[in-house]
């Protein structure tokens, strides 16, 4: 195993609980490489997780780790970051955790622009409870709770985040692992609320039921069906064509002119204490 990630794992807590073929391990690898590349002080980094397959990773990571309740990782992280702004706070969560039960907290974390990096392991399904639909399950797909085909329209997490005013938004996939590392790295360096929609796979409960082939086929699917924001904009200029047939990946937004919440809070404290 790569030495960059090995040193950040609580090796005595392995093996992990993920199913064979699950791409969460690839996303986790990207996260740990990103942490390592940015040279974060691992004693001052707190990983906060909700509930679900992705969130269980908190137990394997050699940091201060807080595995909270379903959907509420962001408010826990908000308390931690606001109480001690010196800490780097990273939230790991799944699509159901972050956008269904935790949807309200996601948009309010974004609204505050508090310096929290949120990596959403998005496999379009509830894996931990064995395959019920999530807010990112595609219309028409099969899930344990949509046995006749799924009716809801799915969220595009990145568009949701941009709509709520997020200052850093990116999407990567388990196929494009190196790029995903870079996107998470930039999210960690970003001083504000960063959302990284990390497309993962669930061969056991989503792929199998939706005839998506093998675990490898599912990951390769990302190669065939995505286009980078950059390539798409080149298309747009040369051929005046937005490629809507493919899912866009890459960095959607990275703006630095929105004040970060805990910085502003400290300024307010200083101002009020001076009696201004």
């Amino acid at each position: 195993m790569n030495s960059k990630i090995l040193k950040h794992l609580r090796q005595d807590k392995l093996p992990h609980i993920w199913c064979p073929g699950c791409a969460h391990g690839i996303v986790l690898r990207s996260l740990l490489e990103a942490i390592d590349n940015t040279g974060l002080n691992t004693s001052k980094t707190v990983i906060v997780a909700g509930i679900g397959c992705a969130s269980r990773a908190s137990g394997y990571l050699d940091f201060d780790t807080v595995h909270t309740v379903h959907g509420r990782a962001i408010p826990y992280a908000t308390g931690i970051k606001l109480a001690n702004p010196e800490l780097k706070v990273i939230v790991i969560t799944g699509d159901g955790d972050a956008t269904a039960i935790g949807g309200n907290h996601l948009i309010h974390g974004i609204r505050r622009n508090i310096d929290i990096t949120t990596v959403i392991f998005n496999n379009n399904v509830y894996g931990m409870t064995s395959g019920q639909y999530s807010p990112t399950t595609p219309s028409g797909a099969w899930a344990a709770t949509s046995p006749y085909g799924h009716l809801d329209r799915p969220f595009d997490i990145c568009e949701l985040a941009i709509g709520a005013g997020a200052t850093y938004v990116a999407r990567g996939t388990a196929y494009h692992q190196t790029q995903l590392t870079k996107l998470i790295e930039k999210g960690i360096k970003h001083n504000g609320f960063a959302v990284i929609d990390a497309l993962s796979t669930c061969p056991t409960y989503f792929g199998r039921k939706n005839k998506r082939g093998t675990a490898a086929d599912m990951i390769t699917w990302f190669k065939e069906n995505t286009i980078t924001v950059k390539a798409n904009s080149v298309n747009d200029i040369n051929q005046n064509k937005d490629d809507n047939s493919k899912m866009k990946i890459g960095e959607f937004r990275n703006i630095n002119d929105v004040p970060e919440f805990t910085n502003e809070y400290q300024k307010l404290i200083t101002q009020v204490m001076k009696g201004e």
């Binding site: 807590k13 201060d64 909270t68 509420r72 408010p75 992280a77 109480a83 204490m273």
Partner: protein, 374 residues
Amino acid sequence: MKDIELIQGNEACVEAALKAGIDFYAGYPISPSTEITELFAQKLIPLGKKFIQMEDEIASMAAIIGASLTGKKVMTATSGPGFTLMQENIGFAAATETPCVVINVQRAGPSTGLPTTPAQGDMMQARWGSHGDYSIIALVPYSVRECFDLTVRAFNLAEKYRTPVIVLMDEIIGHMRENVKLPDTVNVVNRAKPVETPDDHIQYKNTEDLVPPMATLGTGYKFHVTGLTHDEQGFPTSNPTTIEKFITRINEKIHANYDDIVDVQEHDTEDSEYLFFCYGSAARSCYKAYKLAREQGIKVGIMRPRTIWPFPKKHLQGLKHSSIKKIIVPELNRGQIVREVEASVTGIEVIPVNKYNGELFTPQELLDVLKGVR
């Protein structure tokens, strides 16, 4: 501060928290607790401390637990519906042994109920609101001064026992104004921190006093916190022995310390034939009824718990050989604490007196009840 001030119960709570060393408050406005949230918004920032209005009560409870894990003293305040929303996270705080204070200024229910009328309908919710086997500490003030004293005590007990502590007021107690003289300084307890190195530290150790020292996020201990049933190191377990030890310890650290935690006021319990067992605003009416009854030669006493959970069972059992024949339990609900009283005594008749129409007890009606049962 002036020597004597006319202040509200809710205000006294805020003053107490400041004296007890609160660092962080997160809350969501709900009547009749709103003044607490508003006052913290006003008072914490000038002290360089943190206040945040979260998007809901669930987030408020989550935020204070997160802040507490960074070593801060934390609190939130709410009322019935908000308290219900907080329950899952209160359970998390109990399971992860994270100190925090929750003020519940009770209003009538069920559901949205009666927003600004008094009730004592959350007595059982405070004890059993979250799922699973855990124990809780809950305190019940009956005056503005006690709102102050018991809020300070709530912080100290939370720190001492690594547990959520709930202060159960009711709308009358929260909104009532009284002249009080608050102390300049209070006794402050801080949570025990590990003395050993990170490698040697065990975050949930089965220590003899049942309360393990608590490491803080960002101090190099690299510990794991989870709401899953965990071993001494804090990691999920499915080992039956480990599970049982853990559940036993988080309950026993409260029950084994009954004498330290349970605080009960008694008046004339030795020679009385009748006893009012009462708390919160109902106790205020009882005191007046008790005085009137004594003037008329009726031998009545008062037992008024200031700690309601753990329930003051031993204090009631202490009455066994006394002259008391009947215990009257007035409550602004359909009878919650009366069941605990019934379960604690034998050979004494227990009489519930219940009011749930949004009004408080008058001393006269309690005096009439007393005369009626003689």
